[in-house]
């Protein structure tokens, strides 16, 4: 205890010399700890990103295959297509309807692969609903009728104003539009997994559509089963829930009046159990995609291998993941982290060098003092503890100051280290990337991002664009570790010197 006191006293009394060392250490330590803060922040953000991005994949018909099919259809005239449809056998009709779909057997089997955490089956289909008008399509048809290409029916030829987009999955609560927050249930309840298993004819509809048509919970709507006519070709669907489109609401609030205020295409989407949509679409055993969440981005390669093993060499299906989204978000953070690690190592090396050199200078300048201490009855241990405590005081002051400075400049360091390209990638994602308004027409987009007006991925990228260097408890703990580390390095010189020192030699010197 007395040695500590003597060390502290020596630290105070030699303040001018110690201050120089403290300042030098402070500069290097501030840099080290800022780098450390950036690294911790980047690690933390990447970990958080891993929980939501990079851990999703879906099995669907590949975009290449869909494009080829689309181009082949475009080569045919409307008459040819009609003739082809008339001559089809029931098996050919089913094959035609399911050419853009995935067999459930495939998605079910893949759900048993390692790393898979959740599994959903999604089927999107266009369904005629008697007595209801799709306001979005109504406008589209009006535009087509007044435009120069009114003769060309094209692929939309089988649509009419009663056509609605039905999206089916196994549990309404896990439908991506609801999980991303793009839509929220305002009345009733969403369908459940039991509804899916029992193919209960239930549906969730949009609030504006319900208001316009005086529909409420418990009412039924009549949907036509695709490809069937006559008695038994209609299905009564009971309305169990009414949802609101969050993005459309925001538009309404921000726009004073006019077309945009009433434009609510999301209102034309119905949500129902996949098994019900399969019946309506007459595609039993087929889904648009199998949707999977797995452990983390690190499992992607293993799942890709598992998928290839399952589908073999066919190019029709693909396992699309959000790996590129993860990379777009996490790569700049990882680059900043790697740079910070290099900076941290360099700055810590400089700290070690400074304290070593400083102690060499200090101890060699106080050799006579060491000799006197030994001559008047100090043990090696007493002298070592005294000097060690003096070094510890120097390092402690420098570390405390550096911690304070890090709190001030850590964020600036983070901004400085974050690659500039990050901002560009963020802008592009906002303009037309996954999750933007064009999502519906982008074959590369993923179900998890939601359908139109999704808030999911783009807002996440916005968050990732900024490296939030916040002061963490772990930084304080690392600060203590650094303190101990550099103190030990600094102590090495006095310890070595004190043990070797022979007081008679020192005291003989003039």
């Amino acid at each position: 205890m007395r040695s500590f006191h003597r060390g502290f006293r020596s630290f105070r009394r030699n303040y001018a010399r110690n201050l120089i060392v403290v300042v030098l250490l402070f500069v290097c330590l501030t840099f080290s700890m800022s780098m450390l803060a950036v690294k911790l922040a980047a690690d933390n953000q990447v970990d958080k990103i891993k929980q939501t991005v990079g851990n999703y994949g879906e099995i669907k018909v590949s975009s290449d295959y869909q494009m080829k099919q689309f181009q082949a259809e475009r080569q045919k005239s409307a008459a040819e297509r009609a003739a082809e449809a008339r001559s089809m056998t029931p098996e050919q009709e089913l094959a035609n309807r399911t050419q853009d779909l995935v067999p459930e057997t495939m998605t079910d089997k893949f759900s048993k692969a390692a790393y898979i955490k959740t599994y959903d089956k999604v089927l999107s289909a266009r369904v005629q609903v008697t007595g209801l008008t799709n306001t979005n399509l109504q406008k589209l048809f009006q535009l087509r009728e007044s435009g120069p290409q009114e003769q060309e029916a094209g692929p939309m030829g089988n649509l009419n104003q009663n056509t609605f987009f039905f999206q089916g999955n196994t549990n309404g609560a896990s439908a991506s539009d609801f999980t991303t927050g793009a839509k929220k249930l305002v009345q009733g309840k969403l369908f459940t997994y039991d509804d899916y298993k029992n193919a209960n004819p239930v549906v969730v509809i949009e609030k504006n559509l319900a208001d316009q048509n005086n529909l409420k919970i418990g009412d039924t709507v009549e949907a036509q089963v695709s490809g069937q006519t006559g008695v038994g070709s209609y299905m009564e669907l009971k309305i169990t829930g009414i949802y609101e489109t969050v993005q459309a609401e925001q538009q309404n609030q921000s726009t004073s009046a006019g077309v945009m205020a009433n434009f609510n295409p999301a209102g034309n989407s119905f949500y129902a159990p996949t098994s019900v949509v399969q019946k309506l679409n007459t595609t039993p055993g087929y889904v648009s995609l199998g949707s999977y969440y797995f452990g983390s981005v690190g499992d992607t390669a293993a799942l890709n291998r598992a998928f290839k093993t399952e589908v073999g060499s066919t190019k029709k299906y693909e396992f699309a993941t959000d790996l590129s989204d993860y990379q777009a978000i996490a790569d700049p953070l990882l680059k900043a982290r790697n740079t910070s690690v290099i900076g941290l190592a360099g700055a810590l090396g400089a700290c070690a060098l400074i304290i070593l050199l400083a102690m060499v200078i200090i101890v060699s300048g106080r050799t006579r003092e060491l000799g006197v201490l030994k001559a008047i009855g100090s043990t090696d241990r007493q002298v070592i503890v005294q000097y060690a405590f003096e070094v510890l005081c120097i390092c402690l002051v420098a570390v405390i100051m550096a911690m304070g400075a890090t709190a001030l400049i850590g964020q600036s360091m983070g901004n400085w280290l974050l690659p500039k390209s990050q901002k560009t990638s963020q802008q592009s994602s906002m303009e037309g990337g996954p999750g933007g308004p064009m999502r519906m027409f982008n074959p590369n987009s993923l179900y998890k991002e939601g359908s139109q007006f999704s808030l999911g991925a783009s807002s996440q990228k916005q968050q990732a664009a900024k490296l939030n260097v916040v002061y963490r408890g772990s930084l304080f703990l690392y600060g203590i570790l650094i303190l101990v580390g550099i103190s030990l390095v600094g102590m090495a010189i006095p310890v070595f010197w004190i043990i070797r020192l022979r007081p008679a030699r020192v005291l003989s010197m003039e």
Binding site: R6, L373, A375, I376, G377, T379, A504, E510
Partner: protein, 229 residues
């Protein structure tokens, strides 16, 4: 060994290894010193006086011989030399060797602090010693660089007395002082022998000090001979 004999050095030799070979600094030296007496060793520079003093103070280890202080063989491997330096000897150096960062009072308290003496006791004894050395008042809190050479040396003597040692080893205590101040310091050291009963050994090249000592030795090339024997 007489009752008053406190230090006995017998056939002690110390050789330093240099590039050219071994240099014998202390060559088969034998002498004794008594309580309450001043023993002076004079000789030219490089004659081995300081080495002999350091050997007696256990700062150097001789190759051969025997040294007994207060009946304790300090060359015995079992002897705790740190304890010996704390309790049995007090050093006074030519260049004072006070700790620059400490005040006069703290410098005197330091040996007691190292020996584990309670703080209040340290302070009391250090004040008494400095008072006795006529270093008091503002000088108690002065650092060595704010004091004169004579004041520094008096503080150094007070420090040497801190743990009430049997033997005071003074290495050229007047070497860095003017004549008048040097005389005062010698008076203090001789006073210590007379009043305290300390055994004071002064190593110097100033032969005028021989006159105030009880016994005097001359050292040349590591060999010791008693003056007037």
């Amino acid at each position: 060994m007489s009752e008053r004999e406190i230090l006995k050095v017998e056939d002690v030799s110390k050789t330093f290894q240099v590039k050219a070979g071994g240099v014998t600094a202390v060559d088969s030296v034998s002498f004794t010193a008594n309580k309450g007496e001043v023993t002076t060793i004079v000789g030219p520079s490089g004659s081995g006086k300081t080495t002999l003093l350091y050997v007696v103070g256990s700062l150097e280890k001789p190759e051969s011989g025997e040294i007994t202080v207060s009946g304790q063989d300090i060359l015995d491997p079992g002897t705790d030399l740190v304890r010996y330096r704390r309790k049995n000897v007090g050093f006074v150096f030519q260049f004072f060797n006070l700790i620059p960062a400490l005040t006069a009072l703290e410098n005197v308290m330091l040996p007691m602090d190292l020996a584990g003496v309670p703080l209040e006791q340290q302070r009391k004894r250090a004040s008494e010693l400095l008072d006795r050395m006529e270093v008091g008042g503002r000088l108690l809190k002065a650092r060595p660089n704010k004091m004169s050479g004579g004041e520094n040396q008096r503080v150094a003597i007070a420090r040497a007395l801190a743990n009430d040692p049997d033997v005071i080893l003074a290495d050229e205590p007047t070497g860095n002082l003017d004549t008048a101040t040097g005389k005062t310091v010698i008076d203090i050291l001789t006073g210590l022998a007379g009043e305290n009963g300390n055994c004071v050994i002064i190593v110097t090249h100033d032969e005028s000090i021989i006159g105030v000592s009880n016994r005097a030795f001359h050292m040349t090339d590591g060999r010791l001979s008693e003056i007037g024997a």
